[in-house]
C-alpha cells in the first residue's frame, strides 16, 4: 500500500496514520457498482443526501449531509469500472487543501457469477503521538494485531 503525504499537516508533529479496509461482494456487475460510486445522483442515493463529483484526476466535488454539512472531495485516480481514488476533507465546509483529509481507494473486480468484489481502503486517519518519535504508516500487521485483541 502506498503512503500519501498530507500537506495540510504540520511536518513537525509526530503523527501516526491508520487505515481501514473492507472487502465485500455484490451481485451486481462492476459496471453497475461503478455507476453507484461515481455518478452524483447515484452517490446521493446511498452515501449522503447530495453529491457533486467531477470524475477526473484533480476534479473537485463534495458530499453533503443535511445534518452534517458538505465535505470537500478531490478525485485522484479514475480507471473506469476498476479503480477510483478520492481524498475527502475531515472537516465540513473546508476546502480540501486547507485541512486534514483522508484518502479513499475503491477497487472493483469481477466476482464469479457476474458479481463484483469491492475492496475499499480509507487511509490517513491521523492521531498525534504524545512523544517525539518516529513517524510511520500503519500496515497490515497492525490491523491483524488489533483484530487479535478482539478475537
Amino acid at each position: 500500500m502506498t503512503t500519501t503525504k498530507n500537506a495540510a499537516n504540520p511536518a513537525d508533529a509526530p503523527q501516526i496514520h491508520a487505515t481501514i479496509e473492507r472487502r465485500l461482494t455484490f451481485d451486481a456487475p462492476p459496471e453497475r457498482v461503478w455507476r453507484a460510486i461515481t455518478e452524483p445522483d447515484e452517490i446521493a442515493a446511498w452515501f449522503g443526501d447530495s453529491a457533486e463529483l467531477d470524475l477526473r484526476p484533480g476534479g473537485d466535488g463534495w458530499f453533503g449531509w443535511e445534518e452534517h454539512g458538505r465535505f470537500a472531495v478531490r478525485v485522484e485516480e479514475v480507471v473506469a469500472n476498476e479503480r477510483l481514488v478520492w481524498r475527502w476533507s475531515r472537516k465540513r465546509d473546508t476546502p480540501i487543501d486547507e485541512g486534514p483529509s483522508t484518502r479513499v481507494e475503491w477497487r472493483l473486480s469481477p466476482a464469479p457469477g457476474g458479481g463484483t468484489v469491492l475492496e475499499l481502503t480509507e487511509s490517513g486517519f491521523q492521531r498525534e503521538a504524545d512523544r517525539q518519535d518516529n513517524i510511520g504508516g500503519w500496515k497490515h500487521e497492525l490491523a491483524e494485531l488489533v483484530a487479535h485483541v478482539d478475537g
Partner: protein
C-alpha cells in the same frame, strides 16, 4: 511511566517485532534480532519501548529473557478507529441495498440516447 501505545506502534520496526511475537509466540532477544538488519542494542531499545507501553512482557526462562506479546493495550487503538470503520459498514450496507433496488438488467439511459 507508561508510554503511549500510539507512539509505540508508530515505528515500523516495532510493528515488525510485534507481528513476529504474534505469529511465532514468545521469543528471545537473539531470535528477535536474528532476521533484522539492526544491532541487538537497537532491538533491545525498541523492545523496551514496547514494554513501557505494556505491549511486550518479559519473563526469565532459564538463562534467557523471553518476550511475549500482550495485545491488550491495542484496544485503545481499536477504539479510536472503530467509529470510522463502523461508518463504512453502514455506508456499504446502504450501497448494497441501493444496488439491490436497481438491478443491472434495467435500461441504461447513457447507452440509449
Amino acid at each position: 511511566m507508561t508510554a503511549d501505545v500510539f507512539t509505540a506502534v508508530a515505528d515500523p520496526l516495532r510493528r515488525r517485532l510485534l507481528a513476529r511475537l504474534r505469529e511465532q509466540g514468545p521469543l528471545s532477544l537473539s531470535e528477535l534480532a536474528a532476521p533484522l538488519a539492526v544491532t541487538r542494542q537497537a532491538v533491545t531499545k525498541h523492545l523496551d519501548a514496547l514494554a513501557r507501553a505494556g505491549l511486550v512482557r518479559v519473563t526469565r526462562e532459564g538463562r534467557e529473557r523471553v518476550h511475549r506479546l500482550d495485545p491488550a493495550p491495542l484496544r485503545e487503538v481499536d477504539e479510536w478507529l472503530r467509529p470510522y470503520a463502523e461508518e463504512w459498514d453502514e455506508r456499504l450496507a446502504r450501497l448494497r441495498a441501493h444496488l439491490d433496488e436497481r438491478p443491472p438488467q434495467g435500461p441504461d439511459p447513457e447507452e440509449r440516447p
